[in-house]
Symmetry: C2
Amino acid sequence: MALLAEHLLKPLPADKQIETGPFLDAVAHLPPFFDCFGSPVFTPIKADISGNIKTIRAVYDKNPTKFRTLQNILEVEKEMYGPEWPKVGATLALMWLKRGLRFVQVLLQSICDGERDESRPNLIRVNVTKAYEMALKKYHGWLVQKIFQGALYAAPYKSDFLKALSKGQDVPEDQCLEKVRLFLVNFTATIDIIYEMYTKMNAELNYKV
Amino acid sequence: MALLAEHLLKPLPADKQIETGPFLDAVAHLPPFFDCFGSPVFTPIKADISGNIKTIRAVYDKNPTKFRTLQNILEVEKEMYGPEWPKVGATLALMWLKRGLRFVQVLLQSICDGERDESRPNLIRVNVTKAYEMALKKYHGWLVQKIFQGALYAAPYKSDFLKALSKGQDVPEDQCLEKVRLFLVNFTATIDIIYEMYTKMNAELNYKV
Ligand SMILES: CCCCCCCCCCCCC/C=C/[C@@H](O)[C@H](CO[C@@H]1O[C@H](CO)[C@H](O)[C@H](OS(=O)(=O)O)[C@H]1O)NC(=O)CCCCCCCCCCC
Ligand SMILES: CCCCCCCCCCCCC/C=C/[C@@H](O)[C@H](CO[C@@H]1O[C@H](CO)[C@H](O)[C@H](OS(=O)(=O)O)[C@H]1O)NC(=O)CCCCCCCCCCC
């Protein structure tokens, strides 16, 4: 079970500010999950998310005091880059990273909620598709959308997916889902705040790749 | 024209041994081409090829004398890794790299030979498909093959492709193709030798990804 529940995100403080350092430490545990699925299809996805984390970490490491919270990053970079902002620096990396995180969150939530294809209950395609539609689809041009549809076939079985979340141990499904629900509490709250911040700061972009 | 013709590979010496250092320097100029096509579809391909070059470079840099030629790499690693070999180290990286290089070679050759879809002469899909079939298809499972078919739509127009090969300058097509032909001479000979070496050393693997 380990993997997820061992790396809970911190609860949000009253001022709803997210500290950059602990946030990066926590999300750095997510990309390795994609290795569990045993298909080269996930390599570019893992690389993209890892790249985002690396970009933000590099900015943070330059001055951990100045970039103490995610809010600080957006404010300092806005000042620093002028008209180039927000399509630049850690602001851009976090814009994309939050979409990848939202994808993961919706996927896990949908599985926990028992949403499934009754005729093929061990597939997670409905959950993956829902997560994709809510988090990413509108930022992808028709070609990447088409490739996503192909990649969907590489999605693991639900049983294998839950096993991967449990570090390969054979844990009963309901026990595993209980831990996932626990993980989702702070994870969801954190992502919601990041989205809110992008809206408030007018930092959200809608271009497609 | 620059890009390609400025980085010709060395002619093969009489003993047909390829020196690792100059080989890596020359092929390092290829991955940036994928940026010219302006689609995120090529990012993972560029990353894969760059990764191969990096892996081989890291082995070479450890001991440039011991790994002076590509043949040395295979021999030393065979000795070093025992039964794990050849699915390991720079031997594995070069196994895949040669396939990517073969893809590029067949693609360029096919364009130079004037092979084209008469009804859509400015598309390079027939050339890309030929290159894929000759270099990569048999090493890809059905899913990656399917994704390739989707990715094909991101292939640039022939005119844009040739322009990219010419560093963005508007060079007349026949002049550009002349330089490509020049580039292909040593490039093709080098790839042929690498393939021959993998066969002779019994280092070729046929697993699919
Ligand atoms: C031989 C055959 C070859 C065929 C090859 C075809 C390959 C096709 C590859 C498709 C693309 C892979 C996914 C990556 C897409 C990325 O293009 C986007 C934008 O990526 C962002 O772009 C920015 C600039 O605009 C910065 O560079 C960001 O980087 S920065 O750090 O520099 O600022 C970067 O993240 N990220 C995304 O869309 C995010 C993707 C998250 C994915 C979440 C999980 C989805 C799971 C789906 C499971 C079924
Ligand atoms: C949100 C939506 C998300 C959807 C995401 C879907 C993404 C689908 C991505 C498809 C795969 C991208 C291409 C990469 C494929 C790679 O899996 C293979 C094997 O790659 C090798 O694997 C080895 C281990 O087996 C080592 O790790 C090698 O690495 S090592 O250095 O560690 O030894 C590594 O190169 N390389 C390949 O097949 C080589 C590919 C060369 C490509 C040549 C050009 C093709 C151009 C086509 C133009 C139309």
